[in-house]
Symmetry: C4
Subunit: 252 residues, 4 copies
């Protein structure tokens, strides 16, 4: 299990990486479940991710109450995170974003689906949550547990759910995984828009998505993480480079 201090540092790095890779701009956020207290999560105070520092990371109860130090106002949309951690014991980290190539898919009938192996784990079925269905005309922000839970219901067992006219939220089993999925979701969207303009598209099959998802582990995540740490000038703390199940036919 990752120690609290190490996770906090990793969360700061994740903030900077997501900003650098254009998954978030001045808005969007990334959280992690508390490594020792599963009913708590860690999230920066309301601040542009690129600027988040260690002292900005706050602790919250699942229903969004601040625990301990409060270096500033919390994100008004923290309920997205809490509701997901409540509904999904498997989720250890989440990214809420306005990833610019993904947003167009939230406002059209065109489905976002993976076309390239790096992007496979976003899954073949990506729901699109419309806040208007239950809450009518709002400012589209998820600012209560009721709203967060409604979103979590749409997310269900999936890795990503779109949010109409807003963006998306991605979940994972670790900070590195969720950042990885988010970066490649944005790339998949960018490439898919171009592919769709050229005619019928061959998507990854369900079997391929399953094989990719099963085989994606430390060996893959570390490669991206080291590179991204370097780009944003954050220390790279190596971790396990295990290959996932069935990743290679030759190596172990």
């Amino acid at each position: 299990m990752i120690a609290l201090q190490e996770l906090t540092e990793e969360l700061v790095t994740a903030n900077h990486v997501l900003a650098h890779e254009r998954v978030v701009d001045s808005f969007g956020h990334v959280s992690a479940r508390h490594p020792e207290k599963p009913d708590r999560y860690l999230l920066s105070r309301a601040r542009a991710p690129q600027l988040a520092e260690i002292g900005d990371i706050m602790e919250f109860t699942l229903d969004g109450k601040v625990v301990g130090a409060e270096p500033g106002k919390p994100y008004s949309e923290r309920f997205i995170h809490g509701a997901i951690y409540e509904a999904r014991p498997d989720v250890m980290a989440a990214v809420h974003n306005h990833s610019p190539n993904v947003v167009p898919f939230t406002v059209t009938k065109q489905k976002m689906r993976p076309i390239m192996h790096m992007c496979g784990p976003i899954g073949s079925e990506i729901p699109n949550w419309d806040i208007r269905n239950k809450f009518g005309d709002t400012n589209l922000l998820v600012t209560s547990m009721e709203m967060g839970r409604d979103f979590a219901k749409t997310l269900g067992p999936h890795t990503v759910a779109l949010m109409r006219g807003h963006g998306s939220t991605v979940v994972g089993r670790s900070v590195r995984e969720v950042v990885f999925t988010s970066v490649y979701m944005e790339l998949n969207a960018e490439m898919l828009i171009k592919a769709l303009a050229m005619g019928e598209v061959t998507y990854l099959s369900d079997g391929e998505i399953a094989a990719i998802t099963k085989g994606r582990a430390g060996f893959t995540f570390e490669r991206g993480w080291e590179n991204w740490c370097h780009r944003v000038g954050r220390p790279f703390i190596p971790r396990d480079k295990t290959m996932g199940e069935g990743f290679s036919k030759t190596d172990t």
Copy 2:
């Protein structure tokens, strides 16, 4: 009320931010109404926004006459600003730009409308002013009060008006607000072009736009402003972080 010196510094920052965020290139300009004399406005001398300095900020009467120091030639299109301040007492700042993803909307029948919550305040009805309608074949520049007033008439009570074959002008109640709206207008245009290529688009509803606009205040503006100041290496002067009316269902 913001002091003159602070506003002048903020205007310089706004120039740099707009250049960095690709709202303006070597051309385009941002002005603010004088904080003490409502019949005056502040605007850089004719210079690429990225290069504007404190000593470049000039004071003008609403009809575009220089008051006081004249560190260089004024912008030939300053009449856009004066005519708007004359017609719209609510407007405290304005950005004239050639935002590259917005220009295509000025020369096609396709309407620019907001598809994403951050961009809502550009409004659902964005007029497109064609200088040719009244002035025939020109170099498209707004170089007299007559032209500026004609544009201001088309702008009417709106937040943005496009200018055919030219760009657009955005207005707001503060420098931070008008910069914010301009940055997200460009992003909206970029994303909308992609969405339109994929089929029918669901725009924000009028009720959503109203809710977003009402709720957008310091809590939102400060987040972007701090980030942009950091990116262009300008000091960030914190200001009030009030949430707008109805912004959150939980926090105040």
Copy 3:
């Protein structure tokens, strides 16, 4: 008349600016007619424009023979420049480029025409030269005076001519002008591709193009030039800021 040394410095700056603004990459070149000897022109040795230095600038006769120092191999396509200076006494500078948004227009029937005032001077009629028409299957390079003259014939009195499967060449009355036109041609192409995807496009009228072209002078060029010099870290030597004929209805 600009002195030889100043022009040589300006040519180096132009090389760096065109690379920074993505008009040229490792290839493409910019030349100037010799300020004292109209039958000579100045052009860097064959080198990526971003790297061109004072010592790289060579002098050529109009038919492409080296005069004086030869710091390295000359560009194999210098005949584009010589043939234009031979045919067009009004031309004082030329940019040959593979501007990436312009290339698509060289291989489709879709005409490139200006949609935005800054880009007006590329003109409403832009010919597309196909080397294959006269020379059959080649490597598409203009490597002889015969080829250069054939291109110059297609260019005729225009400001730009496209080159099928290759790029384009832009001409002007000064280095600053030709760089300006080249940068805004690339922007026009980028924006036009997006506009065309959204439906019927309103182009600038011939009257507008004429008014813009007549009014474009030092006041406009200096704004871009100062900004670009700053971006590439080259000294900015101010020159005359005269407004062109009919530029403003108010200022002079």
Copy 4:
């Protein structure tokens, strides 16, 4: 023949250049055949190309066994390289990549073909290998010699083969050549997508592609290489600037 140490340095530079020019991101790799032992090849350990250092370059037998120092885990897809060196004695270097504008062509029926002279050598016939045809649902990675050989069979005598839902692999007679081809393949794809959106496209003819390919030699490669070395801060070691056969009608 290039010495081993010089080639190793060049390979490190190639890694950095490909990352800078967006041919590879955290993934993808470039190899070179051993200059003295044709049944060996050189390839970095599994690491983001931007970070590859001299000490990361490993030596492999053609069937992917490590020879000598093992500074870390090898790339799981090294079999792409080995199988190509085995099947193609003419190949001295290879780039496997997920070049983002190329991927859309791997999942649509739209053929990628060169439209611009710099890109001609990718060839008029570019096969698209689908791993699923022989191996069914996999994670799409080429992780055994059997898979590598199947890919090499599809590549055949070509310079590039696409890999469905994955990327492509480019081969060449030197590191500089293969990097050059890879950079301009990405550019060709970017421009072709835009051209296709505007109507029927005129591709380079087979005769033109042949002429370009024959004429492309040191004079061309050195121009790009010097520029790219400069951009990534790596030393530029000049090599021969010979013009290829028929490159110029005037110069030699």
